[in-house]
Amino acid sequence: MNGTFVGMPAFPTAAREALADTQLRRNLAHATRTIRDKRAAVVAEVEDWEDLRLAGAGVKEAALRDLATHLETLEASLTRAGATVHWARDAEEACAIVAAVTKAHGADEVVKVKSMATAEIGLNEALEAEGIAAWETDLAELIVQLGEDLPSHILVPAIHRNRAEVREIFLRRMGAVGRPAPADLTDEPAVLAGAAREHLREKFLRAKVAVSGANFVVADTGTLVVVESEGNGRMCLTLPEVLVSVVGIEKVVATWSDLDPMLRLLPRSSTGERMNPYTSTWSGVTAGDGPQEVHVVLLDNGRTRALADDVGRQALRCIRCSACLNVCPVYERVGGHAYGSVYPGPIGAILNPLLNGVSDEQTASLPYASSLCGACFEVCPVRIDIPSVLVDQRAAVVDSHRDDRVPKAEAVAMKAAAWTFSDSRRLAWAEKASGLAGRVMGRFSRRTMPGGRAAAGRLPGPAAGWTGARDLPAPPAESFREWWDRTDGGRDGSAR
């Protein structure tokens, strides 16, 4: 498991299906617009927001530049504070460590704080295979888990569900795994949350082992930080005897004071709140208070691969706020599942190929799942230039096919275009041909476009993707270049 859902179709196919889901389209449009507007309002309150973004990017960049040193410092400070540090090269190693710790305490269940890293490594499925039940305690994660569904958003994984569906899922599934939902459950959000609360409370009080991720880890103090809204995290982090935290190595920051810009950037970018309700920090074990056994699993799983990529490295600055998803016009229309990964949206379109490479077709389709509009870069709190990384990953995809024995039709077309565009005389010939074609199309055209130009009619081949839904003007009889030649740039009096 590499954070990519196995067997998913490539993006264009998955997107086509999602686009036909009218309920999904409405839910997403409503939800993304709401969060987007909230974010915009609270960001506008901060006078020095751009400076804050620079500071945030600076903190993460500095940490990444000297990652090896910071990780060693972290290991030392965590160990000093009584935590056990594990290093996991990949998903399999990380899952095995969590399973071993759980089993060592004779437990057959864990409670979980919402964590992207554990979703990325497929921890729940791996634990299930070992006979260990992993209970998600974040409300939206619970909805996804009970619905045997896949998450579709980083922050609000059940964004594709509406409250009627949530009620249905609770009624149908809660009883099978614990305290059932009350029979008179309504679809009022407060009532639904109340049912989840009752259901989860039982699990919090019973569990011996908790599993979390971390939003940040401070190297010099050995402190883990979890930022959340519901308080379920605080319960997981304090009630069970044993706490295992799976943390991507890119989460490290050097010092406690580095948290300052990060904790100001994250809630405003993420939930559109000035400050999130719960920020928990812990450094190892404190006698008589909280978990008495603390494990930290430092996870690579492709991160060193991304780190080695000059352009793509900046993606490791990501603090998973999901602002880029909420403003993305592609995400807004197709939703998270089309990306086939726990990391959807613009960040997913770069992070998945950076972590996993572009050798499989699904991952290779992701860098192209963008119109390069740049809205993501504009909101990213740590200034990840997502459009530039997308273009660079497209180049990685193209380069991975350079040795193909049979080149793709697109590669042939691009080479032909490059040949034409390398010499203006070749371009002039091509335009003459297109002008001739335009005259013919104009003769046969039965459609006049608004404003009076003839439409080209429906075209075959790849162009059918255009003309299936969009009229295309027929090429003009004379190119600009020919006009300039014929009229001496309009100086002969025929500038019109």
């Binding site: 390069l372 497209r394 995809v397 193209v398 203006s424 969009r470 009229d471 600009f480």
Partner: protein, 261 residues
């Protein structure tokens, strides 16, 4: 000041009227614009699809064609963005220091039309007359890659006779995205359909933007919907005058269906 027009490959082959409008407009403002015949394309179609090696000779053609000009003006936010922000990436990839140096010369001298008019020439009232209800779509690359801000709006507001109406959700992408329009045609069309709906909601008869490729996409949808809204490049609106408006039933009409050749 030596000023060159970078027509762009799309305008050259598909929208020559936009190029003619730029020439007419700049001459009216006293700029004797040149058209270096050696120019072809900015290389963006290759770069944005991932074909960086293929883009190298195209960028080389660009810097050769425009060497020595004080300003390179282009009626496209996207192509200006390509020259300013992507040519250096291609040059680095080529490993040719001469190309890197040449790009460092041409990149900062490349201006999108509204930038050139407002920042270099210092004009906002270009003496245009266009008595129509118009809405303006700020294209993504002009807005976010170049940061042209409200320059196009300033220019349009100074046009006599114009009735300029706000486009709802204006800053959202229209869904063109170059090869995205073909590779992810379904998503592209879904985005464009929403843009077209917002355009129709304004009641405008003309949708104006600074990039003909985006207009080709939204205009293609509007045309298919028989929406009764035409698309026009900013340059054509700014070039229009009382004389040109009187000449035809509508402004700057191109070739009509069936009466070509």
């Amino acid at each position: 000041m030596r000023v060159a027009l970078q027509i762009t490959c799309v305008n050259d082959a598909m929208f020559p009227d936009t190029g003619k409008a730029v020439v007419r407009l700049l001459r009216r403002l006293g700029v004797d614009v040149d058209f270096p015949q050696a120019q072809t394309c900015c290389g963006q179609p290759m770069v944005n699809t991932g074909y960086l090696d293929e883009a190298v000779p195209v960028v080389r053609t660009f810097v050769d064609a425009f060497a020595g000009y004080d300003a390179i003006v282009t009626p496209s936010g996207s192509c200006a963005g390509s020259a300013r922000h992507q040519h250096s990436i291609v040059a680095e990839r080529s490993g040719d220091p001469a190309l890197v140096a040449a790009v460092a010369e041409t990149a900062p001298r490349t201006y999108e039309l509204s930038e050139f008019l407002v920042d270099v020439l210092g004009v906002t009232d270009v003496g245009a007359y266009f008595p129509h209800r118009v809405t303006y779509h700020p294209t993504c690359h002009s807005l976010r890659m170049l940061g042209v801000g409200d320059r196009p709006r300033q220019l349009l507001e100074a046009v006599r006779g114009i009735q300029l109406v706000d486009l709802p959700n204006a800053t959202e992408c229209c869904g063109f995205g170059g090869t995205f329009a073909l590779k992810n045609a379904d998503t592209s069309i879904a985005m464009g359909a929403d843009k077209a709906r917002h355009v129709r909601d304004t009641g405008a008869e003309v949708l104006v933007a600074g990039d003909n490729s985006c207009l080709m996409h939204v205009g293609g949808l509007l045309s298919r919907e028989r929406a009764g809204v035409r698309v026009m490049h900013l340059a054509e609106v700014l070039a229009a005058t009382e004389d040109s408006e009187g000449e035809s039933s509508g402004p700057a009409v191109g070739e009509r269906a069936g009466d070509l050749a």
